[in-house]
Homo-oligomer: 221 residues x 2
């Protein structure tokens, strides 16, 4: 039985043995299971974004995902696990795509530009997930919270390091206090995008928005 | 009887007659009433910030404000009214202090600097109120929501106009699309400050933080 292992293993981290076992399990049944997990996470994200994490119920999430109420417990233990998985997937999506997009790039300013564009593209492309990750991650309990915060710190450190490198390329030294404040302001601005990005009005405007953020921060150091 | 008029009149806007009546009522009893309202709003803001608007109860708010549970209903109708008053007071504080601080100032860049410093000072000085106003205003129903959104739009338009004037002073024209995006990014960065400002570590650092935000935006146009 592979009963909801895809969901339950995540908090503990995947051991090598478990990864090997999983790749063997990538059969039709497994793919069907993953599709259902995707559907549940998508429905949960949209309901959390609309009604708040506190007010959305598992029953409603099951209904939106077209999965029967008893059956949804085959895939998850509780609502918090859904919040954790939404936040985790969002961070992993960012952390996996950025290194791919900078392959072969050496200029720190160009890496910064790509970092911002990648984030704006992914966050506006997954608006509910992003809104939930930004607003509700703090409601997670341990060990979920620490795991997500570690991913966030890692991601934020990529930006902070890029900023220091851009300053060096400009012949400036960026001290710790300034790089910390600029990093916090940067994520404040960046995380606000999905809250005001209007998919009707701003369709196709991801690139100029990313360019505006890039100009603000590349000229700051 | 002046029973909770201080609270109840606000949603409708104060008529001239009501204002005249209120100033006559500024007696000892009235001042005592206002002090209790302040205490209730302060307790509500800290509880909403800690536990979320949804999870904090009127009973807990009364306990924290040192007011008996039945007696708190002398001052308010329901929890939503508290959220509305917290958001309204926060916006009014900003909208009242800024014009005073720019009296006699003509340089748009200097006005921008003062706008930012005023906001950072007030928002870090009232962290719970600010956190609640940013996170929970969207949970208000009508007519509360429209009233707060109108104050926010007015405040945001002050910034947007300053940005256009700063661009003109730099000999540039700022088009509508760019001023809109820059204004949204600005408030994203600005509203994030109370979420990461650490009163132990950052004590007295309001000024350099404001200066950092100022440099980002004054150089953008």
């Amino acid at each position: 039985m592979i009963k909801d292992k895809a969901v339950r293993k995540t908090a503990k981290g995947a051991s090598t043995a478990r990864v090997a076992q999983q790749s063997k399990l990538k059969t039709g049944a497994r793919r069907h299971h993953d599709t259902n997990v995707d559907q549940i996470l998508g429905s949960a994200a949209s309901l959390f974004a609309e009604k708040s994490f506190g007010l959305a119920s598992i029953r409603e999430i099951a209904a939106r995902a077209n999965i029967s109420f008893p059956r949804i417990y085959y895939y998850l233990r509780n609502k918090e696990e859904l919040l954790y998985l939404i936040a985790k997937r969002g961070m992993e999506r960012l952390l996996v795509s950025y290194p791919k997009r900078i392959e072969g790039v050496t200029d720190p300013a160009e890496k910064l530009r790509i970092f911002i564009e990648n984030h704006v593209r992914l966050s506006t492309g997954n608006p509910s997930e992003t809104k939930v990750a930004v607003q509700d991650t703090g409601k997670l309990s341990e060990p979920y919270l620490s795991e997500i915060r570690a991913l966030e710190r890692h991601y934020s450190m990529i930006f902070r390091t890029l900023l220091v490198e851009v300053a060096q390329a400009h012949g400036n030294e960026l001290d710790r206090a300034r790089s910390r404040v600029l990093t916090s302001l940067f994520f404040g601005a960046l995380n606000s995008v999905p809250t005001w990005f209007d998919h009707a009005r701003d369709a196709g405007r991801q690139q100029p928005i990313a360019a505006e953020i890039y100009r603000l921060f590349v000229n700051a150091v």
